[in-house]
Amino acid sequence: MPGKPVNTATKNERKLNFWERLYLPEVLKGLGWSIRKIWKEPSYTFQYPEEQWYPSDNYRGRPVLVQEEGKTRCVSCNLCARACPPMAISMESREIDGPKEREPVWFEIDMLRCIYCGFCEEVCPEEAIVMSKEYDLTFQDREEAIFGLDRLLVPKERLADRLAFLRKQQNPQFGSTWEYPRENNRHSLRDLTTDAESIQTEQ
C-alpha cells in the first residue's frame, strides 16, 4: 500500500507551556546535553596525515594499470578512453608479437580530469585497468598531473584485494546462469595450438 498524506501535527506542538517559556531551563537543558555529548560520543575525526584511512575493497581510488610479469595487461583497445566521461584517457597502440598482439606505446590518464567514476574498469575487456585505493593525490602543476605508463603500472600482487573483489562482486554473470568455456578466452588466432595448450597447462 502506498503512503498517504497525514497531518501528523500533535496538539500544542507550537504552544509552549509556562516552564518551557521560562527560557532558562531550556538553555540549561541544551548546555547539559552538549556537555554530555562531549563525554559520551565516540571520536569521528582522523589525525589525517599521521593517521591514514584504509578504504574498503569497494573503494574507487585512482585508476591504475595492472602489471603482469613485467608487462601491462592492456591490449590498447581504446575502450576505456571511449567510456571515460570526462575524456581523461588517451593512448597510442602498436602491434607486438605474442598472444596479446597489441599494447600501448604510451598510455596517459589526466588525473585532473578523472572523476573516479570507475567506468574504465567496468568496460575493460582484459581487467587491465582497475581502481586502486590511493586517494590522496597532489600536484604542483598541470604537467605533473598527467600520469604516464611509469606511474600507472602497478604490479598485480599489490592489487590483489581489488581483483579479488571484482571477481566476487562485479564479474559474475547477471541473469540466467551461463556456462562459459574458458578456452574461449583466446587472445590470438595466429597460433591456435599454443594458445589452447597454454590454457590447458594453466588449468
Binding site: M1, P2, R14, E20, L22, W33, Y44, Q173, F174, Y180
Partner: protein, 437 residues
C-alpha cells in the same frame, strides 16, 4: 566588414556590468505585493531606521548555502523588494548531456544535488529506462530504494544542521554530521565512493549490496531513530528555536502551488503532494509509509515535516530490507546494459556487447520522449529526454526541485525581516548545484 570590427568583444566583455544594471532595474521596477499582503504601515511614528537601502547578499555569503545572490531593497529592517540572481554555478549540464551517451552522463548527475547524489543517479537511470523500455530486476529496484532513502536522510541531516547553525545553534551541526559520516561510510561500502556515488547503471546497478553493507545499514537504522528522538526532545520544545522560526516565511497552500514549490516546502503548506504516492516508481507502491504534512506553511512547519520524513525514511528502509529478494542486479538484456564480466572475458558475444554498449549505448527509438520524476529529498526531480534514435539524447531538460523552490523565495522574503532572511533561505533548502545546473 573589417577584421577589427569582428574582433570587437566589447559586448561580450561588458556582460557583467549589463547584467548588474538589469538586476537593479528589475528591482526598481518590480511591483511588490507587500502593501497588500502584509500589514499596511499606517503608524506614523518616526523610525530611526526608516530609510531605504539596497543591499546585496551573496553570492559568497556563507548563509546563502552556495552561490545565490539576493538583491534586496530594505526599508529599515523590512525587506521591501527582493530579486534573486542565480546562475553562479551554471555548468551547462543540459547541453553537456547532448554530447554524452546515456550511460556517460550518469556521473554528471552526482554533481547536481551534491547532498543526495544517489537520488539523482536513480532519477536519471529511471528516466532513461522509461525512454528505452528497459526492465530492471527486482533486487536492483529494492536496493535503489534503500539507498535513495538513505540519501534523503543524508540531505535532510545536512539541511537540519545547517539551518540550525544559521539560527545560531552550531553544535547541532556537529551532531548531524556525525550521522552523515556514518551514511558516507555506508555509501562508501556499498557504492565505492563517499560523495560521487555513480552506482546506478542503465538497467540496474554496478555492484550488489553485500553482507557488510546490509549490516552497516541495519546498524544505522537501529541507532538513528534514537538520535532523532533526542534531537526532537531538545528542539521541539525549545523556546529559542521555536521563537526563531514560528511564523517566518509563511506560504499559504495556494501560494505554494502557484509558485510551484515542491517537496517539503509544499507539504509544509498543507498540500499533500508526493510523487512516491501519486506516480509511484520503483516499489514505493508496495511499502507502507505516511507522508507527513503541516498546514501552517512557515519555517517551523517545514522543520517538522522534514524531521518526520527522516523517520519515515527509516520505516521504508526497514520494509525494504525485510523484502529484499535474492537475484540479479542488472538487466539480462545485453543489447541494453552491460553484460556480466565473465561473459565479456570468455565469450565473443559478450565482448562485442561490451564494445557496443560502451560505444553506441542504448538507442531508444527515434522520436521517443519521456519525462520521469522522482521524489528527491528536495522535491520533484524530473528528467525530460528526447531521443533521435542514436545513443545520445537529442535534448535533455532537468526539472530540478531547488530551482522550483527558489521561485517561492522571492515572495517569501518580501515583507520579512532582514534577520529572518537566513532562516528563510535555510528552510527552503536550495542546493545551487542543482538550481543552476
Amino acid at each position: 566588414m573589417s577584421i577589427i570590427e569582428q574582433l570587437d568583444f566589447s559586448k561580450t566583455l561588458s556582460y557583467w556590468p549589463r547584467h548588474n544594471e538589469a538586476i537593479y532595474r528589475r528591482l526598481e521596477s518590480k511591483h511588490a505585493w507587500l502593501e497588500e499582503r502584509h500589514h499596511p504601515d499606517d503608524d506614523e511614528a518616526v523610525d530611526p531606521l526608516d530609510n531605504e537601502m539596497i543591499l546585496n547578499i551573496g553570492p559568497q555569503h556563507p548563509a546563502t548555502h552556495g552561490v545565490i545572490r539576493c538583491v534586496v531593497k530594505l526599508d529599515g529592517e523590512t525587506i521591501k523588494k527582493c530579486v534573486l540572481d542565480i546562475g553562479y554555478l551554471h555548468r551547462g549540464l543540459e547541453k553537456l548531456a547532448e554530447s554524452k551517451t546515456y550511460q556517460e552522463f550518469m556521473p554528471y548527475t552526482d554533481r547536481m544535488d551534491y547532498l543526495s547524489p544517489y537520488s539523482n543517479n536513480v532519477a536519471w537511470c529511471l528516466a532513461v529506462e522509461k525512454l528505452a523500455a528497459i526492465e530492471v530486476p527486482e533486487r536492483a529496484q529494492w536496493i535503489r530504494m534503500i539507498m535513495s532513502e538513505l540519501a534523503r536522510i543524508s540531505s535532510h541531516l545536512l539541511w537540519m544542521g545547517v539551518s540550525l547553525m544559521d539560527a545560531g545553534a552550531v553544535s547541532v551541526f556537529l551532531w548531524t554530521f556525525q550521522f552523515r559520516e556514518d551514511l558516507y561510510n555506508i555509501f562508501d561500502e556499498v557504492t565505492g565512493a563517499r560523495l560521487t556515488v555513480s552506482h546506478s547503471r542503465i538497467g540496474g546497478l554496478v555492484t550488489d549490496l553485500g553482507e557488510k553493507g546490509i549490516e552497516m545499514i541495519e546498524d544505522f537504522i537501529e541507532r538513528f531513530p534514537v538520535a532523532v528522538g533526542e534531537w526532537e526532545k531538545l528542539l521541539n520544545r525549545n523556546r529559542i528555536w521555536i521563537d526563531r522560526v514560528d511564523g517566518v516565511g509563511v506560504l499559504t497552500a495556494e501560494e505554494a502551488v502557484e509558485l510551484g514549490m515542491t517537496g517539503a516546502n509544499l507539504r509544509g503548506s498543507g498540500v499533500g503532494h508526493d510523487i512516491r504516492r501519486f506516480e509511484p516508481y520503483l516499489k514505493y507502491d508496495e511499502v507502507d509509509f505516511t507522508i507527513p504534512i503541516r498546514t501552517e506553511g512557515d519555517a517551523l512547519a517545514r522543520y517538522f515535516v522534514r524531521m518526520e520524513e527522516m523517520k519515515e525514511a527509516i520505516i521504508i528502509i526497514r520494509q525494504c530490507l525485510d523484502r529484499l529478494p535474492e537475484g540479479e542486479i542488472r538487466s539480462d538484456d545485453a543489447k541494453r546494459s552491460y553484460p556480466g564480466k565473465d561473459e565479456v572475458y570468455y565469450s565473443m558475444e559478450g565482448l562485442i556487447h561490451d564494445f557496443m554498449v560502451t560505444d553506441t549505448g542504448v538507442c531508444p527509438p527515434n522520436g521517443a520522449e519521456a519525462y520521469h520524476a522522482i521524489e528527491a529529498p528536495k522535491g520533484e526531480l524530473g528528467f525530460f529526454l528526447q531521443s533521435d534514435g542514436t545513443g545520445r539524447p537529442c535534448r535533455v531538460r532537468i526539472n530540478s526541485p531547488s530551482f522550483s523552490n527558489l521561485q517561492g523565495l522571492e515572495s517569501m522574503l518580501e515583507g520579512g525581516m532582514m534577520g529572518d532572511m537566513v532562516v528563510m533561505i535555510a528552510t527552503v533548502d536550495p542546493v545551487l548545484g542543482e538550481a543552476d545546473k
